[in-house]
Symmetry: C2
């Protein structure tokens, strides 16, 4: 196991931070690591907005599920898919394709994960914030995101003030397979995993939460998933064709 794999494998989302700021050198190293990610057709279809203004940070937090660490983290960055830059330089560019949504989402996520890993290698903790998609119209107005730009996820970073356990992932046999998608999954493996997750929550919450994985995804998927997103994507010029 390499030091890098050790850093990656030790990932836990950190949601409590000390007040210590990141140094300029740390910030630039994380930015450089993010940009070193591969880019489909070298389009570099991403933009990152760093929210430094405390008043703006409070407004963003209010739009993103009021998660307090958005307000308190030393750094909060909003990762966006960005084809606006291309339209500025190549006004005749053909856009609006669902494929470009995939390119923007995938490539920006590659950058985000590099930023996460770089931060963790520096002894920092971090958490991604999907809730930047809670109120995308309002958030885009606030951050002055033009057409061609959509907020995908946020990233809080800072020195950790908590030390949670790593969360047990699906057994590899349920996520990886050879040559074809499996006709069915092994239900005994699944049940064993449900118990592992239940134990994890029981231990972590001192018995207050007892949730299996299938129970949890059942809850999550019983609700609508941000049903306004498709219209927002179309208004911003994605997924039109």
């Amino acid at each position: 196991m390499t030091p890098t794999i050790k850093v990656i494998s030790n990932h836990r989302s950190i949601r409590k931070f000390t007040e210590q700021a990141l140094s300029v050198e740390q910030r630039e190293a994380i930015m450089g690591a993010a940009q070193a990610a591969p880019s489909s057709s070298f389009l570099q279809a991403s933009a990152v907005i760093r929210i430094t203004d405390p008043e703006l940070r409070a407004k963003v937090m209010a739009l993103c599920g009021k998660q307090p660490y958005i307000g308190s983290a030393p750094e909060f960055w909003v990762f966006c898919a960005d084809f606006n830059r291309h339209l500025q330089w190549v006004p005749e560019a053909q856009t609006g394709f669902a494929e470009q949504l995939l390119i923007g989402a995938i490539d920006t996520a590659l950058m985000g994960q590099n930023a996460m890993t770089a931060a963790e290698s520096l002894g920092l903790g971090a958490v991604f914030i999907g809730a930047v998609r809670n109120n995308p119209h309002e958030l885009s107005a606030l951050l002055q995101l033009p057409k061609g730009v959509i907020p995908l996820f946020g990233l809080c970073m800072g020195y950790p003030a908590q030390d949670p356990e790593t969360k047990p992932r699906l057994p590899a046999s349920l996520m990886f397979c050879d040559n074809a998608y499996p006709a069915e999954f092994d239900s005994a493996t699944m049940q064993a995993y449900d118990e592992v997750v239940q134990d994890y929550y029981r231990t972590r919450t001192g018995g207050r939460k007892e949730m299996t994985w299938t129970g949890q995804i059942g809850d999550t998927l019983s609700k609508e998933a941000r049903p306004f997103i498709l219209d927002f994507l179309k208004e911003q010029g994605f997924c039109l064709r």
Copy 2:
């Protein structure tokens, strides 16, 4: 700079590999690193198909722009967004939301980048293959991908048999900004970057290619971007609402 940031910053896509296979330990370390990535609402909405059958590999290669390294790389994995597993365990799950396409694409890319970084830390080289989206219907039939599953990108891995330069990225000032998307980008910075990219291609190709970045994105974006993807996504149960 940490050893991990050094690994990340040294990324170049590797498209020529020696014949040396990965060890089981290496493969398992890369799988573990991939799974350690964060997962939105802990949905773990991804599946990875490892293509080991040489005949199948040849067929997949034919569908993916005939890129020879898909055939020759010691490892070739297809990363998919996967909500089928959830539908098997929670048949009443609400799916079809564009938001779930974003979750699947972003989270699977986080996994892919962890796999890439882990592989590179082991001295391996790798390249992502967007061309798995060239013929998604045919590829899905070949890999028996059911509804709820879409191939997002491939990953070739092996010991590098080439040592290319790192590719110069957009200046950070054109990718990162504070508090708002910039009203306009600095054109002098852009022009300087165009020259850097032109030099990179000139040096790399011995003068045969002289392409600026704006020239390159102009070429790429003058064409349709996989216009069949939106229909494919809908057929697989994504982006319907």
